[in-house]
Subunit: 597 residues, 2 copies
């Protein structure tokens, strides 16, 4: 049986039994929808992922794009796939009807995209980037820009990119140097961008770059950064297109996501690269954060998808591969058992399951907040959801990347020596996963964002909302008959994190941001562990509800309880020493001088 990419029943359980995503259709914006249309869309993408994308995964990984005569050529299979992805309507699924979209909730779009990402993250990448870039144009572009570019982007007649990074400005976007010189209704851009995913290819004639640049005379730092739309081919007066002085001097040889080109862009080498301002001058970074935040959730989803496909691969292997005997069986003539029979293999499987399905619930929860923030009936509910979404974003971006990498390594480990060969796919997903802790803000950046901004925003308002949500989950679990030790553990951990946050914030308020943020990565790790424990409490509650009502597959529900037990009893207590280190201000690396290494 081919790899299913995601567990269909498990996804449905989280969407409907855990998160009640069906209720979204009660709001006016989604009134044309219901569980039937949701499921139809997910099923369409699922089948496309299984039938078209996944079979192309290995060839795309094996033969990455090439740069020939200044133009990038992608894998020939992609040229067959792209028209079908366009036709499917993936790019604009969550956009409004009047923008040519299907007005689906972000939650449902993400659920469907998970299959596409699990099937072939590189192929999906073109669509995801185009979607985010189009949303920037939709949100901040002038009417003229929207008229000109939205339709072809939504239709996939051209693709989009986000062009932020420069050789000297990666994590430090305040140091963006690309210049934009006013020239009438457009600007002339000059400078270099690097690591631009989908920055050139031969799938469509045109590529629309969303570029951060600095208008001549703008102040230094982030306040001087503006956002520009820079097409590869620009419109001519007679309605045609002409080249726009965007050159591709180099291609990065990535170790994963190998179907998606990552390029260096040289803008305006001949002094004639035209860009159009998007939104307000000096607000480029703020605008770009709309796309960045969407991309962070998308990266989180990618981490989940990449861990999921590998988990399911290792599960099938463990169920088939005979090796060894139970500890109590000393008879060498008895048949060997499938390795899933060994406790340590089940440990590796259950840890993967807990990471994959905890991560899945996490990214869906984040997407659900995005839907609520935009479309919930009351302003209070919208505000509350926005706070929670902002808080969850660094967690949803990082947890699947970091723990997903561990999960992918376990999938390889379960395959033993076979897993170490490129005849098996598990090693490729391990390579794919590693990018997710780097792009769209490294794990270090996410830790600073969470502790330095998100948990302290609005006087800790987001943290209060999270606490209320966790308490509601525990109350639901109590009602459903979940082990009271589990809810007590989560309530205790939540209180502990709240107290720790107050204490750290106090250090910041006292004028010592260094002391506050010293352990920001450790804080992100322990905070994520608690957030994922919340998702497992929700899943445990829904599983108990299902078992009590005799609804759903008992195997599925018992599996949910086993993974919840693992996370709540084994992983959650591991935050203790991390909390202590943060609180005590353990300072070994703060004090270490560069010359001591």
């Amino acid at each position: 049986m081919p790899n299913p990419l995601l567990d269909d029943r498990g996804l449905s359980f989280i969407l409907y039994d855990v998160l009640d995503a069906g209720a979204l259709a009660r709001w006016p914006h989604f009134a044309d929808h219901g569980r039937e249309t949701f499921d139809a869309w997910i099923d369409l993408c699922r089948r496309f992922a299984r039938d078209v994308l996944f079979p192309s995964y290995r060839p795309l990984d094996a033969e990455p794009p090439v740069l020939r005569d200044g133009a990038v050529q992608v894998h020939p299979l992609l040229r067959e796939i792209w028209p079908r992805l366009r036709e499917l309507g993936v790019i604009s699924a969550a956009r409004p009807f009047d923008a040519g979209g299907q007005q689906l909730p972000a939650t449902i779009a993400l659920a469907a995209n998970l299959y596409l990402q699990a099937g072939n993250c590189a192929a999906y990448g073109f669509a995801g980037l185009t979607s985010g870039a189009a949303h920037l144009v939709e949100a901040f572009g002038s009417p003229a820009l929207r008229d000109r570019w939205l339709a072809p982007m939504h239709e996939g007649a051209c693709t989009g990119t986000m062009a932020l990074t420069e050789p000297q400005a990666g994590s430090s976007l305040a140091d963006v140097r690309v210049r934009a010189t006013p020239a009438g209704e457009h600007f002339l851009l000059s400078g270099s961008k690097i690591f631009i995913s989908g920055g050139d290819h031969d799938l469509t004639p045109n590529v629309v770059h969303m570029v951060l640049a600095r208008v001549d005379g703008a102040p230094p730092g982030t306040k001087g950064v503006s956002l520009f739309l820079v097409p590869k081919l620009r419109p001519t007066a007679d309605g045609g297109l002409e080249p726009n002085d965007v050159r591709v001097p180099g291609l990065i040889h990535k170790i994963g996501w190998r179907g998606l080109p990552s390029v260096i862009l040289a803008l305006g080498e001949s002094g004639d690269c035209r860009g159009w301002l998007v939104g307000e001058p000096g607000r480029g970074l703020a605008h770009m954060f709309q796309m960045m935040n969407e991309a962070r959730i998308m990266i989180g989803a990618n981490g989940v998808a990449t861990a999921s496909v590998a988990y399911l691969e290792s599960l099938a292997y463990a169920q088939e591969r005979p090796q060894g005997r139970p500890l109590t069986d000393r008879d060498p003539l008895s048949p060997q058992v499938p390795i899933v029979g060994h406790a340590d293999v089940r440990r590796m499987l259950l840890r993967q399951k807990a990471i994959v399905e905890g991560g899945l619930a996490l990214v869906l929860l984040a997407a659900l907040q995005a839907d609520r923030a935009s479309h919930a009936p009351s302003p209070e509910a919208r505000h509350r959801a926005q706070l929670l979404l902002d808080l969850l974003t660094p967690v949803a971006k990082t947890f699947p990347a970091e723990k997903g990498f561990e999960s992918n390594a376990l999938a390889l480990q379960i395959h033993g020596g076979y897993g170490y060969s490129s005849e098996y796919l598990v090693e490729a997903w391990l390579r794919d996963q590693k990018l997710n802790s780097i792009h769209e803000g490294t794990t270090g950046i996410q830790g600073l964002d969470l502790l330095g901004r998100k948990v302290v925003a609005e006087g800790g308002g987001a943290l209060r909302v999270l606490g209320e949500e966790i308490e509601a989950a525990c109350a639901r679990a109590d009602r459903a008959g979940v082990d009271p030790a589990w809810t007590a553990g989560l309530r205790g951990a939540t209180a502990e994190v709240g107290a720790l946050t107050m204490e750290l914030a106090g250090r910041g308020l006292a004028g010592d941001p260094g002391a506050m943020l010293l352990h920001s990565s450790d804080f992100l790790e322990l905070f994520s562990t608690v957030v994922v424990a919340w998702t497992w409490m929700l899943q445990a509650a829904a599983a108990r509800e299902g078992l009590s009502a005799g609804r759903g597959s008992p195997d599925l529900l018992h599996g949910k309880l086993a993974a919840a037990a693992y996370w709540l009893r084994f992983e959650l207590p591991r935050i203790g020493p991390l909390v202590a280190a943060c609180r005590e201000g353990e300072d070994s690396y703060a004090r270490a001088r560069p010359e001591w290494f």
Copy 2:
């Protein structure tokens, strides 16, 4: 400056200031040696590693061996390297003078080999395997076999392999099926082996396989397994060589160690594959364990070496790459700082340093026990050292592999987007490292070995020796003026692990090995954390001694104290929840049924 592979001063500090390896020369067996000859040997290998091996690393990784007309062709550079490795005398450095060796301590040989492994693990692999195979012949071979094979193996005129694994018998060696049929003074072997490193190549005409097989009529299980020497070319009556019916039907495409071929061997397809019994029939696995245990320490050393070279690469990058500003610097016009200036980057560097140098001390400590076990003057000291060596072997094999993988991932992470490209080497070392948790017994196997055998051996005798050694280290640290909180922490953790072991052993004695071994991998992790804390306590003590005496580089010694602080204050407390889970018998994966996944 090119990558130094290992920190020379740090190695010397551990060898002489921490472990007093110079004292080995006081024993009769090493009487011809002294620190000067030790250092001369290390320096010779170091220079070879830097000048010859490391420059060949990238080409060997880029162009793995090919199988052509049934024969494996390695990278052409290897054919230049091999004669020089032979000439250097790496294979037999630790063997006695009368076996053509230099009679160096295993500790010193390992220290020198670390450079070779860090420079190019695949190239070193041929020598390491040959060394281990020759030692098997030396220890268990008949005089005729020794006469015939030892000299060419020690000289590197032919290479050796260990041929254990079969498609159906990887971790489960009881299921070895290759048959050996008596045929006079030799046996006729038939069957398949897989994943045989160095199993064929064109560096030397001949390859000597040490093969596990089952003599016709032997009992099932491990007791029926014998050890055979099976050369690729076998001796003829007239003193020549002829092919031995050993075919290579396939080559594994490994994702790392790519210069070292891993092959499938087909033995006796034409009914004429001759093998010679080594040691006693039915004792094959016991004999092979000599090579396996040596190989496990060698794999541990490889894990350290692979993490070391990547750590030093990321350290140099962090000291050079400007990006961002200190938290308190809000002036975008101030110059960017090297990323080593950011606390989170120093966290990633210090964690790597603690893993690399803790692992380094660990594998050297293990090798030192091997020297003591063979050559210490008193039988008591030899026995004590053997107990400790047996106990340390699964730890020395696994810690560098598992934590080294995390360390290698951090080295990549520090490089940001650049680290994700194959233009930089950090990704290649990450691939290399992953093999170490698989070959020579997976991490799961090591956990069962540690908890199921080693800690309970001789009524817990090995554990008592370890406890005494740790106490001695703490006493030394107390005398040297190390922070008493650190020694208190380590003493407490050691007592906790002792108590836990007793409790788990009790479950085994009560007839429930499943309950005893349930968390064996977690036990291995927490046990390793304590053992590495011991190595850091020793290093902290030696650092304080050096600072008090005004001896050694203050930067080096302060760096040692910073890494010791990190391990003892941050990592060591993290065993708490693991100990609790083992004790409570947290049973989520014990109870999970295969159909629940």
